[in-house]
């Protein structure tokens, strides 16, 4: 092989490189160096356009130390407020995951190109894209405006977020299915519901459940933050502690959130492991 290559190279008058280099991701050197130069230029541009108040940061750094000093030891004395907030966050996450799972099925089926007519597909896909583009907090503002402050707005926000996430995954999963089974079941003259039960659900169910469990884990993480705009949960308590400079209580809340997310992630990994 090598000798053949060398022979061919010498024929084409291309010298065999003396030194070995690792293979680069972008082969063309002009593109590669061009990209590096462009990146550096961008960073210079970005750093100069950002208005950073350096004197404010200089005065802020000692404050950072002060905040950390005031954070330890964490203050767990208001544990009833803490557990109530955490419980509310968990309940928001559970309720949102449940309804999200259910609502995602019709939306996901409508978003699969190989199942539904084109107009339905386009409508479903545009709903998914539209809701996906906006951060949960932006959606939460609207629900807070419509339904008032409290956990209801938080639940509805996370239902929207979970629905479009699970639906997107489900739709992609259905689109990636091999066409054979679909054709075979259709050839027997099966109706659409039968197609769903005997062809789609056996293939899509394991992944759908896996994605839903993952979403539960993500909802626990997000439920801690929708409270910042008044949509309930521990986030509301946390934001209040920051504005009231109760940093030791903030740390206690943060530690609880980390613990909660850790447990949620462990549970989600365990369930997904069993599903496989």
């Amino acid at each position: 092989m090598t000798t053949a290559n060398q022979a061919q190279n010498s024929q084409n008058n291309v010298p065999v490189p003396r030194e070995w280099h690792t293979i680069k991701l972008i082969q063309n050197p002009y593109y590669r160096y061009g990209l590096i130069v462009a990146t550096i230029a961008y960073f210079i541009f970005a750093l100069t356009t950002l208005e950073v108040d350096w004197s404010r940061i200089y005065t802020g750094l000692p404050r950072a130390g002060d905040i950390f000093v005031r954070m330890v030891p964490p203050d767990f004395s208001r544990w009833s407020l803490l557990t109530r907030g955490i419980l509310e966050s968990v309940q928001i996450a559970l309720a949102a995951s449940f309804f999200g799972m259910i609502l995602a099925i019709p939306l996901g089926l409508c978003g699969a190109r190989n199942l539904v007519p084109k107009p339905v597909y386009l409508v479903a896909r545009s709903i998914i894209v539209l809701t996906r583009s906006f951060h949960e907090i932006i959606i939460a503002i609207f629900f807070v405006k419509i339904f008032g402050f409290g956990p209801l707005a938080g639940v509805l926000t996370l239902i929207v977020a979970s629905t479009n996430f699970i639906a997107k995954m489900l739709a992609e999963d259905i689109e990636n299915m091999p066409a054979g089974q679909l054709e075979a079941i259709r050839a027997t003259g099966a109706s659409f519901p039968k197609l769903l039960i005997y062809c789609i659900s056996p293939q899509a169910l394991p992944r759908y459940l896996g994605v839903s469990i993952y979403r539960l884990d993500a909802n626990i993480r997000h439920s801690t933050v929708v409270g910042i705009v008044g949509a309930g949960g521990i986030g509301q308590v946390l934001a209040a502690t920051f504005t009231r400079y109760d940093y030791d209580f903030s740390l206690a809340i943060l530690m609880c959130i980390v613990g909660l997310v850790f447990v949620g992630e462990f549970f989600s990994n365990w369930v997904r492991g069993r599903l496989r």
Binding site: I23, E51, I57, G60, G148, P151, T224, V225
Partner: protein, 270 residues
């Protein structure tokens, strides 16, 4: 195996699940529904709010229309700042998460303690939402883009670090052993044996996270950490809904463009 059992194994009518499995499935279904009911009932949801929800929503929509297009001029600077926050935050993430990923991968870490330490950093970073990191950094640096950049960076470390660490754990040991056998130093093994194998994953993960970060940085302004969120928050608080709709449209455009770029780059890498 006795005859009776044999007969049971091949019943007249084929069923996918045994009665025992069916029962177990129904127990699972019931418990899931039970958990959902328990959660909803404990949240004390005022159901009568739903009665006039459509009126409220309709009212909001009529107030948002038509968008106040003249507001676009003041918006562009903030939009650019949002993109800068996301990009610079991602850049900081790359620098920090890289060594932590090696610490958190079983095959490149030093010992059990360092592995645990790496994992702990990644979990902590991931559990705290970007906006909460934003709260913390606004308290330290004061309001502005710098707090936003650090908030984005610290939240992303967990995400990119975890995915890179998983990629490192799944590498082919062949090239690593080959390079070790030449008497290469630890750094050389890392550079020539491990890095080329995980580099595509790193690029893909970073670009993907950048796309997520664009979306995250649109709300950082709610806690004062810079970007378009500041304008959105003030417009919402002043009930200037026609400005809000302009901001939402611009956010939508930026997010869709970034998603498109990220998808295109990832498709070319893998």
């Amino acid at each position: 195996m006795t005859d009776v059992k044999h007969a049971k194994k091949y019943p007249e009518i084929w069923q996918r699940f045994t009665p025992r499995e069916t029962l177990l499935r129904y127990v699972w279904y019931m418990s899931v529904v039970g958990i959902a009911v328990w959660s909803v009932s404990n949240l004390n949801i005022p159901w009568f709010y739903f009665l006039d929800a459509h009126v409220q929503a309709g009212d909001l929509l009529t107030r948002m229309w038509p968008p106040a297009w003249g507001y676009v001029d003041q918006l562009l600077g903030a939009l650019l700042e949002t993109v800068h926050i996301a990009t610079l935050g991602t850049a900081v993430t790359v620098v920090i998460s890289f060594p932590i990923a090696f610490l958190a991968a079983r095959n490149t870490t030093y010992n059990k303690a360092t592995w645990l330490f790496g994992r702990l950093i990644l979990v902590t970073s991931r559990s705290v939402n970007t906006v909460i990191w934003g709260l913390l950094f606004v308290a330290i640096f004061g309001p502005g883009a710098l707090a936003g950049i650090w908030a984005i960076a610290l939240r992303s470390i967990g995400f990119t670090g975890k995915l890179i660490a998983e990629a490192i754990e799944e590498i082919d040991q062949g090239p690593v052993e080959a390079i070790e056998s030449t008497g290469a130093s630890r750094m050389q093994v890392l550079w020539f044996g491990i890095l080329p194998q995980v580099l595509p994953v790193i690029y893909g993960t970073v670009v993907y996270r950048w796309d997520i970060n664009i979306r995250e940085s649109t709300v950082l302004g709610f806690v004062g950490a810079g970007g378009i969120g500041i304008l959105l928050y003030s417009s919402v608080n002043q009930f200037l809904w026609r400005e809000v709709s302009v901001i939402l449209i611009s956010v939508f455009i930026v997010v869709v463009i970034s998603e498109f770029i990220s998808a295109a780059v990832r498709e070319r890498i893998t």
